[in-house]
Point group: C2
């Protein structure tokens, strides 16, 4: 299962600046996590990210990976994508876009933002047909 298929070219980002810009305090672990996460646009689970970090030789606890992903989400650095009850992905591409999820392969693929929803049907990934479209508009109470 390919989690990393992306239409956009990989782009090296300045993770330190990103964190500062979003009001995230810098720590050793957060730098390590951010460097791995933002190395390229990708969709990863907390567990996959934990492994990716391990592969760099750095040691960060799983709790910190969860904490950091939660923090990054609250600060708007990443987006959570809930595919099903046991599949939460974190999208390191924080630009405005949506996703194709292939129920057969597990592939999660970006939908280019310019695609109007009614044109999606004509732009499905090769060899796939539409299954279910689930649009969840999350709203929040206006604080008074």
């Amino acid at each position: 299962m390919d989690l990393n298929e992306q239409q956009q070219p990989p782009q090296k980002r300045n993770t330190t600046q990103m964190m500062i810009a979003h009001g995230v305090n810098l720590t050793k672990q957060r730098r390590i996590i951010a460097d791995v996460l933002f190395e390229r646009n990708q969709h990863v689970t907390a567990d996959q990210l934990f492994d990716l970090v391990k592969q760099t030789g750095s040691r960060v606890s799983k709790a910190t990976v969860y904490n950091t992903l939660g923090l990054f989400t609250r600060k708007g650095l990443v987006r959570e994508i809930f595919i099903d009850a046991s599949r939460t992905f974190y999208d390191s591409n924080n630009s405005h876009h949506h996703h194709f999820y292939n129920v057969d392969t597990g592939d999660l693929i970006d939908i280019k933002d310019r695609l109007a929803p009614h044109f999606i049907e004509q732009d499905l990934p090769e060899g796939t047909s539409m299954d279910i479209v689930d649009l969840v508009v999350r709203v929040k109470n206006i604080k008074s």
Copy 2:
């Protein structure tokens, strides 16, 4: 948290016919579950449904509630809505529509189908503002 707010009027459906029409074998437990689930349009978790069934005096195991919801989903009688890693709702309204989810209250509210996506913003529930729109288009491999 009100899970049951619906725009459409409650409608008593013939659950036996629904199951037959969708190729679901009839059993005592499935009838009980279907009667509770389709009594009105609602969004329920497996656990909530288990409790609702219990309240009718009938006794159905939790495993059967899960099995039956899985079966009903595969057969197209209900739709799963994944709000987050620990919130899977089953929507007993199987007509084509989407949802507003209020992150503050937990309310899950139908979006009338006629609403074009770009008009959603002008039609948010009272006292709420847009938070996150997550559109996941599920596709499946074309079997050859």
